[in-house]
Amino acid sequence: MLAAYFLLRGEFDWPTSLTWQELSSRLDSAQGWLLDQRTAEHPNIIFAILDGFRALAEWLVTAFINALEWLTWVGTIAASVLIVLRFGGWRAALIVFGAFVSFALMGLWEESIQTLGLMSAAVLLSLAVGIPLGVLAGRSDRYYRSITPVLDAMQIVPAFAYLMPVVILFSVGPAAAVICTMIYAIPPAVRITALGIRGVTPDSVEAARAFGSTAAQTLFKVQLPLARRQLLLSVNQTIMFALSLVVIAGLIGGRGLGDVVTNGLYSNAALAILAGIAIVIMAIALDRATAAIAERTDPTRQHLTDEGRRRARIMTLATLGAILAIVLVARALGADALYPDEFETSTTVFTATIHDDLLRWIQSALDYVQDPDSFIFGITEPIGNFLLEYFLEPLRLVLVETPWFVVLAGLTGMAFVLSGRRPAITAFLMLAAIGVMGVWAVAMDTASQVLVATALAVAIGIVIGVWAAESPRVERMLRPLLDTLQTLPQLVYIIPFIYLMPVSRIPGVVASVLYAIPVVIRLVTSGVRNVSPAAVEAASAFGASRMQVLLKVKIPLARESIMLGVNQGIIMVLAVVVIGGLVGSGALGDMVARGLQRNEFGEGVVASLAILALGIALDRVTQGQRRVQPR
């Protein structure tokens, strides 16, 4: 491939004869047609259903926001904290309380409430679809087998790629945001639910059958209660996925924190960062609260006797009573629906938030890191330039300027060697499709960013992962950090690097490395950990040193996990790299961003399709011989 690059560079661009020139304009006119259909006096049945769904989603979002506003800000805090206290324990309640106080002090209360409303609607609808499907998949092997490839495929597609099609079908607004979130959040909900149901010990299920249970009795008396913790974890994951997307949804008319971030990126950096911090806090609080509730209410661990059950019921009633009382008192005393910017007494006016102070601090921090004389700048700037100069740019040139058929053959060959014949065929078709859509060069630019970022993530991930597997202390120290990194929405990763390393494609690449690393570390650690102790013991018995055991036994035996780490890593990296298009990474992500922001629908959809094709191709190249359970 390198030889072809040096011999034939720049000679063979993707030929125009192999490009479908009118694709973009066709899509534009199709979009026009769709728009006509959607706004027609008497829409046909499909569009009527779409429109009905849009109305439902919008109504739900508004209903949630109205409910939270009816509670007043005092009531909202009281209700959240008391409910979490009742079901999740005081630790989680404290975190939730801290989160609401932060939203208030940051002066982002209204945005936070909007985000919560949007997210709640999306989560509710996702679970309404995902849990029944998951229960079905948990009970029927055939259904599980048929749905798994669909779920796999849906999880490969970067969220950024379906913003565009959804906007075309549902136009911008909260409904589009809810629907994007559903597309993104339903697959994990289905998968985790199915795994939960399937994870119930077969002995219990068989016993139920042997005693003559009907299917419904088995489900409600045995499978659901025993899988309950797992079901609540699927709620937890759905919330995390939803939150992650709700932020991007700011781009397509979802109000709230995401909107502040995406707009602030261009106009008010400090505000965008502040909103980003609020999102992080919200993610952590929601994660801890739902995880604690899932743990605490697991009927297999609660050991509730009749007496305990009665007491629990009384506690729940008392909690609800207390919430109602607080809300009514707050309303009677005239508490605002939203946390106010200032409190008035008869004599003075207090500022209720530290919004302005925070913004000032963030701005000064920004000024510092962007000052060429500062210490931080002295570190970040060279790193960024080094990456760009020695990795990104050369690789991009290689991929773009090497004759297209060489790259195509090379990647297909890699897929064949690593993954086998069928993945190779799929990869070939997907790459060819990219070419036909006329975005070969742009897609190769994206691919170069993805490859560099993946290489970095995998290299760092393997080192840290092996280290953590070898040293329990390192693993213990890493765990909370990894937990937190894994709960953060994708876009949030990018924000700091826009200011830390403001060099074209670097923020996206570095952020995607950070986004992918936790998963790579986890997979490597568990892979190395799970190497059969007998093999390790045997090697040690033959006098192998620790290093020899590691290099000759553990890592080779953990190869499959490491390969899975590469596969997962590359998909996650792609998801973030394309979001980088929002902040100057160029390439496919940029086309989507422009499509969204300037209504260039044709271009945007082409880029979305290309991202989809690239995702599938990269997945097939790295999926390896055997597909293990994906994230």
């Binding site: 068989e206 139920a208 005693f211 003559g212 008396k221 050991h303």
Partner: protein, 390 residues
């Protein structure tokens, strides 16, 4: 039998539905049961392929025979043991009886009802009221208290809560777990968990109890306790039981009759005495070779015909006495011991024949020929009838 309140209650409930079954009618009659796993499984039975060994068939058709043409009858009040190594198809067999695993072919009748023809509802009724099962890994519900676990079968039947809890606490008393009613399964030891499993199976007052290797997961000492428990419950309640195990001593301890399975088929079916005394083939012989024969065999197997004059006088023992139990009496008298059946002397046992029986253990008699260890042993006295039981 009614020596405690709990048991009295068990009995009263049992008697009502028991009225329909006549005493001699088998509780279970299974004929020609096959279970073949794999594609086109039902097309194999009846063809020459069905005669192939397991591995040959799997190579040829991709199918695995789990149960091969098994027929058995279980009489009321009997403890019927199916014994075999793992993979012999015994667990599959027991599941086909109530169609937890659908048999590929065969006829099954349980308390006079045709199981194979039963529709879903009838099958459910059978499982709810007539048959109950105890599982190797207990299969308890971790989210329910012990008493709710015991009441599970009754709950499934739709019995009102107060009634089923009352019944469950009776049964808990029966297995000695009345103090654990409010605990949860994971708070109990393995042995206690299986007592809960036993109680759950007893609670529905079934005609037939299926035990699928119930004690395999327990420690040896606990296992013995549990075997005693099953013996006691069987005597107290007179339940018909089908017991699956891979443990020969357990089979010999519990079983009125034992079926030994290998590669899905029954290789021998008989009383413990018959299995130990006259194994049908090398496979069975190999199984029973380590069993102390004098613990299982009765006098019938070692007695000789009386010489003139021996038929009268001297100590006498019933012919069904285990050889081991005859030792004290034989040691206490100088003369031979008379084996009697229905008051009539049927044979003579002297010290020599007892000593021979004790010495006649394969590993002691053939230490130099380990390769032939599987040769079937025959009773010391071949002239006596092989099957003297029932």
């Amino acid at each position: 039998m009614t020596d405690s309140d709990g048991i009295a209650a068990v009995e009263t409930i049992e008697q009502v539905p028991a009225a329909g079954v006549s005493n001699g009618e088998p509780v279970v009659r299974a004929e020609g049961i096959w279970k073949v796993f794999g594609p086109g499984a039902d097309k194999i039975i009846g063809t020459p392929d069905a005669e192939l060994s397991r591995s040959d068939l799997q190579r040829k058709t991709g199918c695995v025979i789990a149960v091969r043409d098994v027929s058995l009858e279980i009489k009321p009040g009997e403890v019927f043991v199916v014994m075999g190594l793992s993979g012999s198809g015994k667990s599959t067999l027991v599941r086909t009886l109530i169609r937890l695993i659908e048999p590929t072919a065969g006829n099954i009748t349980i308390t006079g009802r045709d199981v194979m023809q039963a529709d879903t509802g009838q099958l459910r009724e059978l499982r709810r009221h007539t048959v109950s099962m105890v599982f190797q890994h207990f299969g308890l519900l971790a989210h329910r208290r012990v008493i709710d676990n015991v009441a599970f079968g009754l709950e499934i039947q739709g019995m009102p809560k107060a009634e089923r809890l009352a019944r469950a606490s009776e049964v808990l008393t029966l297995v000695g777990l009345e103090d654990a009613a409010n605990q949860f399964p994971d708070q109990l030891s393995g042995g206690m968990q299986q007592r809960v499993g036993l109680a759950r199976a007893f609670a529905v007052d079934p005609k037939l109890m299926l035990y699928d290797e119930p004690f395999s997961a327990l420690d040896p000492l606990i296992r013995r306790d549990m075997q005693d428990e099953v013996c006691r419950l069987q005597i107290e309640t007179g339940k018909t039981m089908l017991f699956i195990t891979h443990d020969l001593p357990e089979a010999l301890r519990l079983g009125d009759r034992i079926a030994i399975m290998r590669d899905g088929a029954i290789v021998q079916l008989g009383t413990p005495e018959e299995l130990v005394g006259s194994p049908a083939d090398d496979y069975v012989a190999n199984f029973v070779r380590d069993i102390p024969r004098t613990h299982v065999l009765t006098l019938r197997w070692i007695m000789r015909d009386p010489k003139p004059g021996e038929e009268t006088g001297g100590p006498e023992l019933d012919v069904t006495t285990k050889v081991n139990d005859a030792v004290p009496m034989a040691a206490a008298t100088d003369g031979p011991v008379r084996a009697v059946e229905n008051g009539r002397c049927v044979g003579i046992v002297d010290r020599l024949s007892i000593l021979q029986a004790m010495a006649d253990r394969p590993e002691e008699t053939e230490p130099s020929a380990p390769g032939q260890g599987g040769r079937p042993r025959t009773p010391a006295d071949r002239s006596s009838p092989a099957g003297g039981s029932s």
